[in-house]
Subunit: 206 residues, 2 copies
């Protein structure tokens, strides 16, 4: 049995969608960021990093979205969410996900959580102002170079797709011109129609 610890409007949606895509038997536990529940003692015992998502399994707790997405794909091979038998193709999937994790999500976080990298209020404001450029640059690279279409990796839907969809929810908020990203926004629209995505969103927003 798996339990996904998540919060609304966060990166945990990617893993939530993947669990729905594979038909996993799982429960959810919602963290309330508005009262900083992720920094509370009870949750820090689950994940000392104080972040979401965490995946509670019978063998222990997993954190970090790229690791959890690969775990879901490997644990439910019949769902074919990653090219598990091909190290090069699997590395391409993982490379895309590492870019989302360490570059795209990080650029976005400078608008929301600049306090991670400075305690200077002026610097935090400067980071916020720059988010349209840094996040925009990431999405331009995805749009023009990385996205193969119709899915991230081409003809086959993979664990890259829920991850891109999740960060693509935030582009308007980050001040990025969505109209300049026709392939990314078309992907976002098609993702939103998938039953697994609808179920995950309905559960998180209910």
């Amino acid at each position: 049995m798996l339990t996904l610890c998540y919060a609304r409007n966060t990166i945990s949606l990617a893993t939530h969608i993947a669990l729905e895509e594979v038909g996993a038997d799982y429960a959810t536990r919602r963290l309330d960021f508005s009262v900083n529940e992720q920094r509370g003692e009870a949750y820090l015992a689950v994940n000392p990093k104080g972040r979401v998502p965490s995946l509670i399994t019978d063998r222990g707790i997993l954190t970090e979205t790229p690791a959890m997405l690969a775990f879901v794909a490997q644990s439910y091979p019949a769902a074919n969410l990653a090219p598990l038998g091909d190290p090069f193709a699997f590395a391409q999937v993982q490379s895309f996900n590492a870019y989302i994790c360490a570059t795209v999500h990080v650029a976005h976080a400078h608008r929301m959580r600049g306090y991670r990298w400075t305690d200077d209020e002026g610097a935090i404001e400067a980071m916020k102002r720059f988010a349209p450029r840094s996040v925009g640059g990431c999405f331009e690279l995805i749009e023009t170079q990385m996205f193969k279409g119709p899915w991230v990796m081409g003809e086959t839907y993979t664990i890259c797709d829920p991850y891109l969809f999740t960060v693509a929810q935030w582009i308007e908020g980050d001040g990025v011109d969505a109209a300049a990203l026709p392939r990314v926004t078309d992907h976002r629209r098609r993702m939103a129609e998938r039953p697994a995505v609808r179920r995950a969103l309905q559960q998180e927003l209910s």
Copy 2:
């Protein structure tokens, strides 16, 4: 045949060590950051992100250290650099590496490359000043919670070890008190004695 594109004193060392550990047949191509070669036209054709490392393979180019480390482990299973047959244990390895990639390395980068997230000179200076705290916090978590010992994942050496070793090279430069990290620094010392690590370093620094 593999070709590793690297630069001295960068994160590419982690993959370089992994290639040495598995006995891979590979060539290297050194990029000169002092003349910004990573942003030159020739290299951008290899990696449009303008970063190192890149791994040129017969099937295409791979980027992003966590993806490349898993690729090396999966391509050379006899070297046993990751628990390939166990999705949960593999996810633990990947979770550690995602933390290095998206949190530790990113915190470090705020001392070196703050221009990624702002164009405000004062904010860049503020980020530099904060690096001892942000990087220090990461290493405190590794020291007290994540590092199992004697290797990152416990008794077995994995692709986590060269990755931790590489970012642990930078702690003094980041203003972190190494004396407060006895397990991390002991690991660093033992890593430096491994033949594969010596070979990779000798090649990079020659």
